[in-house]
């Protein structure tokens, strides 16, 4: 597991340019524009944007500092949502950012196909991403890469929770020797809510800056277990259904997403089912085949996903289930509840997990009380794809689970 070299290094990096709590976007922009100009000088710089809030705000900031000296890349990794490329174009156009699109799906699929464990997938994604980016930037004559890494990214990576795809220097990766560029990360001390303030200040469209956070590796971190083209495709269409429906649910959850995993289950222990029955009578608890990332006591864990089937209940009545179950089997990090009374499509081979959470800063999160009716509507629509056998709702808070799955 990658770890920061010393606690000392990180303590210093966190304190030097510490922002005041009352975040003032005007003075932040002024300071960072000067800093970016100072580092880049007369050279050119590249930025890779995913269309997410962090990288878009960072691109707008860098553009303000460098104007035509900035080259903006978008990498179509094959793990993007439906219509993502068009969305990103629409988002960046009004900011006057010319976009170079790199279509590299095949390379990513080749590098990732067959990999199972979350951390090995993340590392393969990271190395592929920066190799392609380093080459493309070199062709454009760029020596500096700017990226929108924010505080939770490096906090989680250095604590060993998970390797974020965009955290390099904090982990001691020498980017110049490995990928051929110097790295500049102007948003390193900001939290998500501060980035949103910055995005609005820089003229990133409000609907865009309120868009669902989407991690750099995209759908990859929501494909639990082995990667295949078909699995990503199933997830992509389920994601559209989930986002479309939960976008109009009131009160709106802070973040919502879908994940996919093979429908291969094994029985749990008797004690686990008895514990679950305290909240859901006659509950059946099984384990899914592949593990997911969680965080327990500041340690990253890679634990079991328990799937609970039983009577139909609103999810908010079941929020006590994870605690009960995890006390009986400490290897569990996630508990999901089968919508539709667990009625599954026979020929289906994938389970779709719907996740919706309430959170201020993504450092902790709790599951949203989505009405059962809404989840059933989602399930009905998602199960039109006969490759999906079952739709579940994630009942787990962060900790012990994380917001994303891997």
């Amino acid at each position: 597991m990658p770890r920061i070299k010393s606690l000392e290094g990180i303590a210093i990096s966190a304190s030097d340019s510490e922002n005041s709590f009352d975040f003032n976007p005007a003075s932040f922009v002024k300071e960072k524009v000067a800093e970016i100009r100072g580092v880049v000088g007369n050279a050119r710089a590249a930025i890779a944007t995913s269309g997410g809030v962090d990288s878009t705000a960072c691109a707008a900031l860098a553009h303000r500092a460098l104007g035509k000296g900035l080259v903006c890349f978008f990498m179509d990794t094959g793990f993007m949502r439906q219509g993502e490329v068009e969305e990103v174009k629409k988002l960046l156009m009004p900011l006057g950012l010319p976009l170079k699109i790199l279509t590299v799906k095949d390379i990513f699929l080749r590098e990732l196909e067959g990999k199972v464990e979350a951390e090995s997938k993340r590392l393969a994604f990271r190395d592929t991403f920066y190799s392609i980016l380093g080459e493309a930037a070199k062709k454009e004559g760029c020596e500096v890469l700017i990226q929108g890494t924010i505080a939770p990214d490096w906090i989680e990576s250095s604590g060993g929770i998970k390797t974020q795809h965009n955290v390099l220097e904090q982990l001691g990766v020498d980017t110049f020797n490995k990928f051929g560029f110097r790295l500049l990360e102007p948003l390193l001390d900001l939290y998500k809510d501060q980035v949103r303030i910055l995005a609005r200040y820089l003229g990133v469209k409000v609907d865009a800056s309120e868009r669902q956070p989407f991690p750099g590796p995209g759908l990859l971190v929501r494909c639990i277990g082995p990667i295949s083209e078909e699995k990503v495709e199933v997830l992509r269409s389920a994601t559209s259904v989930v986002e479309e429906r939960l976008k109009v649910t009131r009160p709106a959850p802070k973040q919502y997403l879908a994940a996919v995993i093979e429908d291969e289950r094994s029985p749990s222990k008797k004690a686990v089912e008895q514990a679950a029955a305290q909240i859901l009578p006659n509950a059946k608890v099984e384990y899914l085949r592949w593990r997911a990332t969680g965080v327990k006591g500041d340690n990253r864990v890679y634990g079991k996903i328990a799937i609970v089937t039983g009577e139909e209940r609103g999810p908010s009545e079941l929020f006590g289930l994870p605690e009960k179950i995890i006390h009986k089997d400490k290897e569990i990090v996630r508990v999901v509840y089968a919508v539709d009374g667990g009625r599954s499509v026979k020929e289906g081979k994938f389970v779709i997990i719907v996740r919706a959470v309430e959170t201020r800063d993504f450092m902790t999160a709790k599951p949203s009380p989505i009405p059962l009716k809404v989840l059933k509507q989602i399930a009905e629509k998602v199960k039109k794809d006969k490759r999906v056998s079952l739709v579940c709702y994630d009942l787990t808070s962060k900790p012990p689970a994380t917001v994303e799955f891997e």
Binding site: S6, L7, E8, I10, A11, I12, A14, S15, E18, S20, F21, A151, P152, I155, E156, S158, G159, G160, I161, Y191, V295, K296, G297, D298, N299, P322, E323, I326, H327, K330, T359, R360, D361, M363, T364, A365, K366, T396, S397, K398, P399, P400
Partner: protein, 188 residues
């Protein structure tokens, strides 16, 4: 008013600094490897959580144990550092039989000290594998939960405190009140 936060490797350490600043207190993360003499000008100290266990040796905690044992200023330890304080004050730290991850309900035993104004019970977020047992330790127990018998402690005759749960996360709504109480203590 200056209350630095000792970075012990936990994910939420940065949030403690953020919360202190929100309350108008100057703060920054400092390394546990600092020299004790460097702490002359401070009003109080918060020691954050982290991934290690106090039962795996003290070498990972830098000067923190020495400071906790000898400090003349108020100290608040969170999560791992609550356990560190419990152990240094003569209690025991053991693996929790029913560890808490996420929501828990804190039951207040001693309402007049650092837990003033939070009510008899309140919701907090915790994430810990280990827990403190009093076992004759030189501290009093200020709060408990149904799964953990020492959720908050105070050293005998000294303004040294520990909380097992995370007062710095937004899912602990009473966290700010507790932090304010600690800041008031630091005002002396």
């Amino acid at each position: 008013m200056y209350i630095p936060v000792v970075f012990m490797g936990g994910q939420y350490n940065h949030l403690i600094v953020r919360a202190l600043k929100e309350l108008g207190v100057e703060s920054r993360l400092i390394t546990p490897n600092m020299k004790v003499a460097a702490l002359k000008e401070i009003d109080g100290l918060i020691v954050g959580g982290g991934p290690h266990s106090v039962n795996d040796g003290m070498d990972k905690f830098g000067s923190a144990p020495q400071i906790i044992e000898g400090a003349g200023f108020p100290i608040l330890g969170i999560c791992l550092s609550h356990q560190l304080i419990g152990k240094l004050l003569g209690g025991n730290v053991v693996k929790g039989r029913k560890p808490e991850y996420g929501k828990t309900v804190i039951q207040v035993i001693e309402p007049d000290d650092i837990l003033q104004g939070v009510g008899k019970e309140f919701v907090a977020w915790a994430s810990h594998n280990d827990e403190v047992r009093k076992d004759g330790g030189r501290f009093s127990v200020l709060a408990r939960s149904i799964y953990c018998e020492v959720e908050a402690l105070k050293g005998n005759g000294r303004p040294i405190y520990g909380v097992q749960f995370h007062i710095e996360v937004s899912d602990t709504p009473k966290g700010k009140t507790i932090l304010k109480n600690f800041i008031n203590l630091c005002r002396g």
